[in-house]
Amino acid sequence: MKKTSINILCCLILVILGASILMPAFTLGSVFVAGFSAGWQASDNPEASPAIETIPVDVSFNPEIGTLVTGSDTISFTNNETYPMIMSRAVIMVPEERFSSTLSWISMALYIICFVLFVFLMIEFIRFIININKGCIFDHKNIKRLKRFSYYLISIALLKCAAGMIEDVLFYELGLHIDGYTLASYWIIPWGTLLLGLLSLLMAQIWSRGLEMKEEQELTI
């Protein structure tokens, strides 16, 4: 019964991990396919003028003091009602040429590394579940796996932060401005991932202490 509940919990975690990677993987895939097909078409017809490629940028609108009170922008609904509005977040399509290509590449590379680490993390987790199912619970391999699991999570969180900061720099280089708002690229520190990584590390340390106690118990004559 206990084994079944552990398996159910592990499957749930695996499903959540899988679901969290699905959207970024789809975005990465679609961007790759779009770029590949554009390149293919360009090679087929080199004389045609290249289409202007745009990059979606997630922008956060931070209202300046007074914007909330005056609220000059309005939103009209289909039932003819109009309300004052402030913006908070939007996606704008910016021509690719406006971005520094080096920084864009670095940012993209960081996301790809994150993706690869995520795949490794899932493999590590599946191996961990298989080992637990085999009955090897307090095992040095499990501790190593848990430690690696936490290092992957912490690395992913830090890489996402770095990518977000690069996106910030790219956004400021654009020099966009709207009256009444301070604009910034939208990214948040992945506190959840960071916390999960640190919790896994703590668990690995506790597990390691448990194994030490078990060995001590076994070697007490």
Binding site: E215, E216, L219, T220, I221
Partner: protein, 70 residues
């Protein structure tokens, strides 16, 4: 580990084999072997008592403190 187990020395003095001692003590030969080879991390007072009773010796004859060279 600066604590040395001299069980083999005492066993040789009493001309007792590992199998015989383990049988008289009521523990498995493998556990006694762990103790004899110095792999054990701890020893119960009850185990020490039965060793001393069977080999007719003092705990100091079995255990020895030898400081590690710095």
């Amino acid at each position: 580990m600066p604590i040395i187990v001299n069980l083999d020395v005492m066993m040789a003095k009493r001309k007792m084999s590992l199998g015989e001692l383990s049988e008289r003590m009521g523990i498995t030969p493998s556990n006694l072997s762990i103790l004899k080879t110095g792999k054990a991390k701890a020893i119960r007072f009850s185990t020490l008592l039965s060793i001393c009773q069977i080999l007719d010796c003092q705990p100091g004859d079995i255990l020895e403190y030898r400081p590690e060279p710095e």
